[in-house]
Amino acid sequence: MIAVSVRDLVVRYSARVTALSGVTLTLETGTALGIVGPNGSGKSTLLKSVAGLIVPTSGEVRVFDRVPRALERGAIGYVPQIEDVDWTFPASVRDVVAMGRFPRMRTFSQFRAHDRAAVDDALAALHLGDLRDRHISELSGGQQQRTFVARALAQEPRLLLLDEPTTGVDAETEERLLAIVRGLVKDGLPIMMTTHDLDRAPEWFDRLVVVDHKILADGDPETVLASGSYAAIREHTHTHGHTRTTP
């Protein structure tokens, strides 16, 4: 079943800045799709377009055959980069994870047994049980990342989008996230994830897409790893850190 369909997607931030140009891809359920590319290549823009956070300049994004904003609440779980929020906000780990249930709840409904179970399961899956009452400002970067992933899991999404969840996390957190992603995919969840970790891509993903404002390569990780476009990106990323190409 096709979970995500992107066709001829163009996203322009201004007349001079084109983030994505003519991107076409599909994602099936039970598949983990990795999106790699240099900084500023449009990886996060692609993810945000699928999440319905960015309106395409042209082209089409459909999630489960509907435009993202027309989906039922809670359908898309989005895990942003951890620096996107204020971690001094008055909330414990459990409070943040419980927010994942908000889109699934009616206006005045209380937390029911299923909501509590979803939160507890998410906390347990990310090994956050002992930290549940801790204020979020007291967490390490890896723990903050796990809290965000737990919030997305508590939401019980039909599609999971992760924006560089392994950046700056410790090895233990990375292994946990890898195990969770593979487990969710095995259960049939479609996952899109941006990453800079090119070397471990075959362990994480069933398919790999190389993006540099447009799709440069799309296929199984081994094939993409062996492709010239990947090597060029890799060389550029390692020597310059990022590119500034604008089509």
């Binding site: 039922e72 898309i76 989005y78 996107d84 008055p90 414990s92 409070d95 927010m99 889109p103 005045f108």
Partner: protein
């Protein structure tokens, strides 16, 4: 005991206490969102902008509070619109729109030969002058604000912490932002008669800022802010009665003292 009940022997003081109670609780509860969303400037901005509505109402001969409310709501929606569509920072947007609206008020006032509204009352408040009709308006507007906050409790909380993810999960963050701005505009209008344009920002920000020093959880902060705001409003009114001081200023000074006490308590606890 007599000291506590003495002010209530006057009917105008009874109305003032009811107004203080409502304004204190409402401002400080809404202030929690103001502080968490880093919107401290908005109280000042909308309060000043409402001045244009007061002048227009005077010149056209209708209720001042109504005129202030209309301009405050329009300014609040304008702030949200320009901020979102123009991709301009919120503080810059507030600065531009509030000074613009305030200038319109001054301009219209300067063009009128007959303008004689008690400007000092609007600048610094006159809670002792709250009439029975004013109180009805305060109660109705406060009830609307409380109802909306209750209905939008979860979306408001989620969008205050992480608006991007809230939006991705299907919550209409833009709608929630606009509603919050309108509710803040109504709250500010409700408070104008009590503490005035100059001090309303303090009543929005200071109790919530004090509560933030004492707790690191959202619901306790919301409750504590409401308690501090109510205490300051009622306590400040008592003090102003016995000190023969301006009620709005006394309320804000008390809130400021409580903020520093809370700050000292937090530093000591740490």
């Amino acid at each position: 005991m007599d000291a506590l009940t003495a002010p209530f022997t006057f009917e105008f003081m009874q109305r003032a206490f009811v107004a203080a109670l409502i304004v204190g609780a409402l401002c400080s509860t809404m202030g929690t969102y103001v502080v968490l969303r880093k919107l401290s400037f908005i109280g000042d901005g909308i309060a000043h902008a409402s001045f244009a509505g007061i002048v227009i109402a005077y010149l056209r001969g209708f209720n001042y509070a109504f005129g202030a409310a209309v301009v405050a709501v329009i300014t609040a929606l304008g702030i949200g619109f320009v901020h979102r569509r123009g991709k301009i920072s919120l503080d810059t947007t507030i600065g531009v729109l509030f000074t613009g609206a305030f200038a319109v008020g001054i301009f219209l006032m300067s063009r009128s030969q007959r303008y004689s509204v008690d400007l000092e009352g609007f600048l610094f408040g006159n809670i002792l002058g709250v009439s029975r009709d004013d109180l009805v308006v305060v109660c109705v507007l406060a009830a609307i604000v409380v109802l909306c906050v209750a209905v939008l409790y979860r979306p408001l909380l989620y969008t205050s912490f992480d608006p991007v993810v809230a939006q991705a999960s299907g919550i209409n963050a833009a709608f929630v932002d606009y509603v919050l701005l309108v509710l803040l505009a109504l709250t500010i209008i409700i408070s104008l008669q009590s503490v005035g344009i100059v001090l309303v920002a303090a009543l929005l920000v200071t109790p919530a800022a004090a509560a933030a020093q004492l707790t690191r959880r959202f619901v306790p902060m919301l409750v504590l802010s409401g308690v501090i705001g109510t205490f300051c409003s009622v306590g400040g009114l008592y003090l102003s009665y016995y000190l023969s001081s301006a009620s709005g200023a006394t309320i804000v000074i008390l809130a400021t003292l409580i903020f520093f006490a809370a700050l000292a308590f937090r530093r000591r606890s740490a």
